[in-house]
């Protein structure tokens, strides 16, 4: 009996290490339940607040875990500086998304509870991914992050483009996931283990660095992860999905997915496969180059801001890969630093787009921000700071981040990649500066002339359920959808959106001048990988 009891003794669970994840998932359940209440204020206010609360709890628990270094769940997850820093960035991105979505169409149509539940689950998946230390956890995390996102993209159910975006993301995403899974299977076949550390040992001990099975696995894994990080030539879903998805979700995807994907890139390639770095390094570097060129060139001349930012995010992913390629501590630090900076500069831009989508009838077209400086000088300032930072102009955090990446690339022996980053930044001015010019130099476009295609696309939620899947619940409650349905939201105060814009732009500027706190934050992240 005692023997049986001993055998039945449950595994040791390190709840402290898991606590941020638990907070997120518990929050997900909680908001789903809270969303069932009929009272409007519960759905419109309480659910969002609860989500923010869950994120805040996750953030607090992450900080509580600070400086701990341990493997939990039988070595599946690793709690260290890297995963904790990335957790913070993810939580910040999630909170911003909740604020941006506070009054959006998407939350209402998808029902508040579901929307926020999906968001929280996706963040949990990302957090899992950032901490994953074996290939199984990696895959679980990846799916947990992706599946809610597919749904979230389609959450504006009456807008064709939103549905299209969700469907496209789902199909292409499945191909990507499948590729990754094959890759993982091949690596398992070659090494016989799933643990990152064990893979590294197996590769070095058994001299597998030239093994076709392993290399095939690496190739497929690289492709799968590149897909998630929207690295060319696996980036093609990005513009379509970013443009179609509800803007708060686009903002979230743009920052958080990148964080998770590059986090796992760092852990998987710079830990498990470091031994084969001389093999995959050049391949990833070439991919980074293609990404930088395709992203920057594709963004030129886009009239939709979201599409432009989608291509820009492709290019930025290319910059960040440079930090992965070199496989050094400096590179890892530079990548994490850039991820944090990227969060701020992108959120500032998306917050402005969200604000303008609701104020004008141009959707995310460039007309929406034309002459912005005269109507909303502070929004224009935020957008300007964000664009300058994305382009890497000094005195913004973007400059420091890019400088750091180039430094890492050059000292890691990839000088040419540093040159590519610089050339890419030069091209990028070709689409960032016109945005600034439009905000400051041109007169505002007449808001009452909605004749562009952007308007029809945005559609102002014409009251027909165009496609199957339109929420039946909405029909019963016209009063909810009514006030906003006609685009009559113009100039309604949106303090939370302005708050996000101001905070993100302020942080971009602040860390451009005082980068030291961020340097300190990411300093540990490089050390934990056991790199040079």
């Amino acid at each position: 009996m005692t023997l049986a009891a001993a055998h039945l003794k449950g595994p040791h669970v390190d709840f402290a290490g898991l606590s941020p994840l638990i907070a997120l998932l518990a929050g997900a359940v909680l908001v789903l339940l809270a969303g069932l209440f009929r009272a409007r204020w519960v759905r419109e206010r309480a659910v969002g607040s609860l989500t923010v609360l869950a994120l805040a709890a996750a953030c607090g628990l992450t900080i509580w875990q600070w400086d701990s270094q341990k493997s939990i769940v039988s070595g599946a997850l690793r709690i260290d500086d890297l995963s904790l820093v990335l957790n913070l960035v993810l939580v910040a991105g999630g909170a911003a998304a909740v604020l941006l979505a506070w009054r959006s169409e998407a939350t209402r149509e998808a029902a508040h509870g579901e929307f926020h539940m999906l968001l929280l689950s996706s963040i949990a998946g990302m957090s899992l991914l950032a901490a994953a230390q074996n290939t199984v956890a990696l895959f679980v995390g990846l799916e947990l992050l992706s599946i809610p996102l597919y749904v979230l993209c389609a959450s504006e159910m009456r807008r064709e483009h939103s549905l299209e975006s969700g469907l496209k993301y789902l199909i292409i995403g499945s191909v990507g996931s499948a590729t990754l899974l094959y890759g993982i299977a091949l690596i398992y076949g070659a090494t016989g283990v799933t643990d990152f550390g064990a893979i590294a040992t197996a590769v070095s001990n058994n001299g597998l660095a030239g093994d076709p099975l392993l290399l095939g696995g690496i190739a497929l894994c690289a492709a799968g992860l590149c897909f998630k990080a929207s690295v060319a030539p696996f980036h093609q879903w990005t513009p379509d999905v970013y443009e179609g998805a509800p803007t708060p979700i686009t903002a979230f995807m743009a920052v958080a997915t990148k964080v998770a994907a590059l986090g796992v890139f760092l852990r998987f390639f710079d830990v498990a496969l470091l031994e084969a770095q001389s093999t995959w390094g050049p391949a990833i570097a070439v991919l980074a180059t293609i990404t930088i060129i395709v992203g920057n060139v594709g963004a030129l001349g886009q009239s939709s801001l979201k599409r432009m930012l989608a291509y820009s995010s492709v290019a930025q992913a290319g910059y960040m890969l440079a930090g992965v390629v070199v496989g050094t501590q400096l590179g890892a630090r530079a990548t994490v630093f850039y991820l944090a900076v990227y969060l701020f500069m992108n959120l500032a831009a998306f917050a402005v787009i969200v604000a303008r989508e609701r104020e004008t009838s141009f959707g995310d077209g460039i007309e929406a921000i034309t002459g912005l400086s005269r109507e909303r000088p502070y929004l224009a300032l935020s957008l300007t700071i964000s664009m300058l930072a994305l382009a890497g102009i000094p005195a913004t955090a973007g400059f420091i981040g890019k400088f750091y990446l180039i430094d890492a690339a050059v000292s890691g022996g990839y000088t040419w990649l540093g040159v590519v980053i610089v050339v890419g930044s030069m091209i990028s001015l070709g689409y960032y500066l016109p945005v600034i010019a439009a905000t400051w130099l041109r007169a505002p476009t007449d808001k009452e002339a909605p004749s562009g295609s952007a308007v029809q696309e945005h559609g102002m939620a014409v009251k027909l359920p165009r496609l199957a899947g339109g929420s039946p619940e909405l029909e019963g409650e016209p009063s909810v959808a009514e006030p906003d349905a006609g685009g009559a939201t113009a100039n309604r105060p949106q303090p939370e959106v302005l708050f996000v814009a101001a905070l993100a732009a302020g942080a971009t500027l602040f860390f451009g001048i005082f980068p030291q706190p961020l340097f300190d934050l990411v300093h540990g992240a490089g050390g934990v990988l056991g790199l040079l």
Binding site: I171, V175, G210, P233, F234, Q236, A283, L287, V297, I427
Partner: protein
């Protein structure tokens, strides 16, 4: 509080003032922007006093305190920090700058009243003071360069303050361009020094200098001469001086503050600060001394001929800075800085008095139109005379002691420096003549209409405001001077500011009377502890000769001016016709503008045009940009072409990509 904390406060107050007045311009009622700005600078002055008291508590060897707020970049051999160096030299400058600035702010509150750009003016002015204090408190080369560039920008903003005046904007651009030439010199010079010392920090670089450089080291001489280019541009020394007279287009208090008392002396400060390097590069020192002497002489002759009252003072400023540059270049650091301080007092006073007359003349600046203001404006007259006597070096006014000390130390150096000594006294004679030419022409003789009206209690206003330089018709809206002219007799703040400065102009010389006291020498000594030239012994005979000579020459100059412009006014005209070519040379400012135009501007334009016509159009436009643009365009089109929106193509490309990567990896096995 420690001296460095006070040092940071010195910087913080003007910055706060600038932000308050700059962002609150729409909400600040009446003159409050002016009072806020004045208060900010005054607090800054008090903080500088606090730093002084705190610093004097240290033993003399420990009076060089460095404080760093944060590291901006400390990688790859660069140690750029936001650090300040609080030492006697920095504090001496900070006290002079903040002290004179607060008085000029006070003066401006009245002088700029009713101008439509009131808050903007004070915001700029605070920005200037902040930049200047940053420059003098800088603890390393990077902060120095930032401050240096900021004062250039502030000067541009203030010269072009009346931005609808075409002459003002042109003058602003000229000043900025020439200052940028100086900035380039400063940055390159810094590089030459940094290359060897390996640190940007002042104290560390000074300590390293004797070990890494031998005397006359080629790189060091080049570096110091480049620093001199920076100093010459900022301090309006030949041949980079032409912007200063034009800078008089700015409001008169700006001329008093920036283009007389503070910014233009930055070059003097730079040489004094970098004395360690200059003493190791004697050739650069000689260049500085000779250029300083040439400037003081040439500017003096031009001052005799021009008729715009502000420009006369501007040339006088150039000339006096020539003394200072010459002084610090021959090792008379304390004397040069002493003269910097006394000059700040009496020159600011002269400008303020000139501003008062210009107010009475309703914007007219020509000496030809002024006459007989003595009775109408007694206070202005008294101030002008005090400033004039100090400038002419008449004992016991402050200029007497400081100028003679520079020349004394110059003579001490012996050999060819005697030539500089002689030039200095010729310059002193010219100074007395042109200064009293202004006084006699503006205040003596038969009063003009404006003076008569003022005697009867009515301040003249032009029926139609005009640009005094070109006669263009203006209005009084934003971008042009406001409708009200201020004179000292009717504005208490102006009188207070001028009164305090007058006291300084009379009494500041007492700080350092030869053989009696050595306040300045002793105070500055810790900053020059590593100097071999600092405060060498003086020969008594030479000292007495200098003092007597200075007095006699000053009085002779005044006497000559009296004879020419009061006793027998015809003589001036006769001389002008007799010495026609010489007069034309002077009145055309020795043709420096034309020379620069011929040597730099025209060839520049010509080369630019030619390059644009050939190289730019064919190579740059056509090949480089053309191909780059079309490459970007073509690839952009290609990217869009692939972006069909159709899933099957996306998947196809994905599969293609996977195959490509897979192939690569399999080839590696």
């Amino acid at each position: 509080m420690s001296a460095t904390t006070f040092g940071w406060l010195v910087l913080a107050f003007p910055l706060a003032g600038m932000l308050t007045t700059g962002f609150g311009y729409a909400k600040l009622p009446g003159r409050s922007a002016g009072w806020i700005a004045t208060g900010a600078i005054f607090l800054s002055f008090l903080a500088a006093l606090g730093a002084l008291v705190s610093l004097q508590g240290h033993s003399p060897e420990h009076r060089q305190l460095v404080s760093s707020l944060w590291n901006y970049a400390s990688t790859v051999g660069i140690d750029a920090q936001l650090s300040i160096l609080v030492d006697p030299l920095a504090l001496f400058m900070a006290l002079t700058v903040s002290g004179v600035s607060s008085l000029i702010h006070l003066y401006s509150v009245s002088y700029m009243d009713e101008d439509r750009g009131f808050a903007r003016y004070f915001s700029y002015l605070n920005f200037f003071v902040f930049s200047m204090l940053l420059l003098v408190l800088a603890g390393n080369f990077v902060v120095l360069i930032v401050g240096w560039a900021f004062v250039g920008a502030a000067s541009y903003l203030l010269i072009s303050f009346w931005y609808r005046r075409t002459t003002a904007t042109a003058a602003g651009i000229k000043a900025f361009v020439i200052n940028v030439v100086g900035d380039v010199g400063l940055v390159l010079g810094t590089y030459f020094i940094f290359k060897h010392t390996g640190t940007l920090d002042f104290v560390k670089a000074f300590r390293a200098a004797p070990h890494v450089f031998t005397s006359g080291d080629g790189d060091l001489v080049a570096g110091c001469i480049l620093l001199l280019v920076g100093a010459f541009a900022k301090s309006a020394q030949i041949p980079l001086h032409t912007w200063l007279p034009d800078a008089m287009e700015g409001p008169t208090p700006v001329s008093a503050l920036i283009h007389a008392a503070t910014m233009v002396t930055a070059g003097v400060y730079l040489i004094a600060r970098m004395h360690v390097f200059f003493e190791l590069a004697p050739a650069a020192q000689d260049v500085g001394a000779v250029i300083g002497a040439a400037t003081l002489l040439i500017a003096g002759t031009i001052g005799l001929a021009v008729t715009d009252i502000k420009r006369v003072i501007a040339y006088s400023t150039m000339s006096q800075i020539g003394y200072m540059i010459m002084g610090v270049s021959v090792g008379a650091y304390a004397a040069g800085l002493f003269h910097l301080m006394t000059h700040a007092f009496f020159k600011a006073l002269l400008f303020m008095a000139a501003g008062s007359i210009i107010g009475a003349m309703a914007g007219e600046q020509s000496l030809d139109r002024m006459k007989g203001f003595r009775k109408a404006m007694p206070f202005t007259f008294a101030s002008f005379v005090i400033g004039g006597l100090a400038l002419s070096g008449i004992p016991p006014f402050s200029g007497f002691f400081s100028k003679d000390e520079i020349l004394l130390v110059t003579a001490e150096r012996g050999s060819w420096h005697w030539a500089l000594y002689v030039v200095g006294y010729i310059g002193a004679f010219l100074t007395a003549v042109y200064t009293f030419r202004m006084i006699f022409r503006a205040f003596f003789g038969e009063p003009v209409t404006e003076a008569r009206e003022l005697e009867r209690g009515h301040l003249h206003h032009a029926e139609q405001p005009k640009n005094p330089a070109t006669g263009e018709v203006e209005d009084t809206d934003v971008g042009f001077p406001g409708p009200v002219h201020a004179i000292a007799e009717r504005a208490l703040p102006m009188r207070v500011a001028m009164g305090v400065l007058a006291v300084g102009a009379v009494g500041a010389g007492l700080l350092q009377i030869p053989q009696v006291d050595f306040v300045i020498d002793d105070f500055l000594r810790p900053s020059f502890g590593d100097s071999s030239l600092y405060a060498t012994h003086t020969r008594n005979g030479l000292l007495i000769l200098g003092l007597v000579l200075g007095t006699v020459i000053g009085l002779a100059g005044i006497a000559l001016a009296w004879r020419l412009w009061v006793a027998r006014p015809v003589t001036a005209t006769v001389i002008r016709t007799r010495l026609g070519p010489l007069y034309r040379l002077c009145v055309n400012k020795w043709y420096f503008d034309e020379l620069i135009d011929l040597l730099v501007v025209r060839p520049g334009i010509w080369i630019g045009r030619a390059a644009q016509g050939t190289f730019e159009r064919m190579v740059v436009e056509g090949t480089v940009i053309g191909s780059a643009v079309s490459a970007a365009r073509i690839s952009s089109a290609a990217v869009r072409a692939i972006q069909s929106g159709l899933l099957r193509y996306y998947t196809a490309l994905l599969v293609l990509g996977v195959s490509g990567i897979g192939l690569y990896f399999l080839l590696q096995s």
